[in-house]
């Protein structure tokens, strides 16, 4: 069966979706990811969708599921690289992807994951310091 590879990078998992998704493939990714988070006690998941040219309501829901499930498993999910046309289409379709954290590219996504992991609840404090 076709599968999307999941790469381990320290505390993080990296998923680059290079093929067009169909329902079964997306469902496999969901369960594979949650199992892999459990296996390596990963703290963060980065999903690169820059090569994905279409996300419909089903795949959007899977992305949302992954974010919620990984959060329950104490891991943060960041989705990066969404194409502008995909973002516009998703919103018009009626899917707002609530709960999914996103970043413009892999680099920014990694920064976001690191910040979330090492700063945790101190984000507010950092913000306060900036104002001084």
């Amino acid at each position: 069966m076709e599968r999307i590879p999941i790469l381990k990078m320290g505390d993080f998992l990296l998923v680059t979706i290079q093929v067009d998704l169909y329902d079964q493939l997306a469902e496999n990714l969901e369960s594979d990811l949650i199992n892999t988070i459990n296996k390596y006690s990963s703290k963060g998941v980065l999903i690169d969708i820059s090569a994905v040219s279409i996300i419909d309501s089903f795949m959007g829901r899977i992305l949302g599921n992954i974010a919620v499930m990984s959060k329950i498993m104490d891991a943060q999910t960041v989705v990066v690289g969404m194409q502008p046309a995909v973002a516009i289409t998703l919103v018009e379709l009626g899917l707002s992807l609530n709960g999914v954290i996103s970043a413009l590219n892999v680099e920014k996504g990694m920064d976001l994951l690191r910040a979330k992991m090492y700063n945790g609840d101190n984000e507010e404090q950092i913000y306060d310091n900036d104002n001084e």
């Binding site: 279409i54 419909d56 046309a85 516009i88 289409t89 379709l93 009626g94 899917l95």
Partner: protein, 137 residues
Amino acid sequence: MITTTNKEEVPIIKEQDVVPLRNRVRDYGVKVGMSILNQTKLITATSELVRNLLKYGGGGRVIVEQVSNGRDNGVRVTFIDNGPGIKDIELAMKDGYSTGKSLGLGLPGTKRLVNEFNIQTEVGKGTTVMIIKWKNG
């Protein structure tokens, strides 16, 4: 008056048929010179409807056409199944309504993505959904 310049039929039996169909529809979109955004909307709408065709209609066939209304060119996609049909079509077109486990965005969401949307259904006979996306629509 809508004229067809190019037409083909794609049988849809299993989930793996979805990706080639999406690619065919994209080819048609490219052929009429659609923007990336309109292509994406059309393919997303196709993806939603073909899921319904598989899930509720038990498979069927899809007709992809390059059409023109004299002012604009576009792509027409028709989804035909011989499934159980839809009992309450007004309810099915409501945002958030679903008999399955989905979010219920399928039909109303799809309608927002295309320029023309027509659904005909008869209980026990099947459902036919027709969508058109115009190049400049």
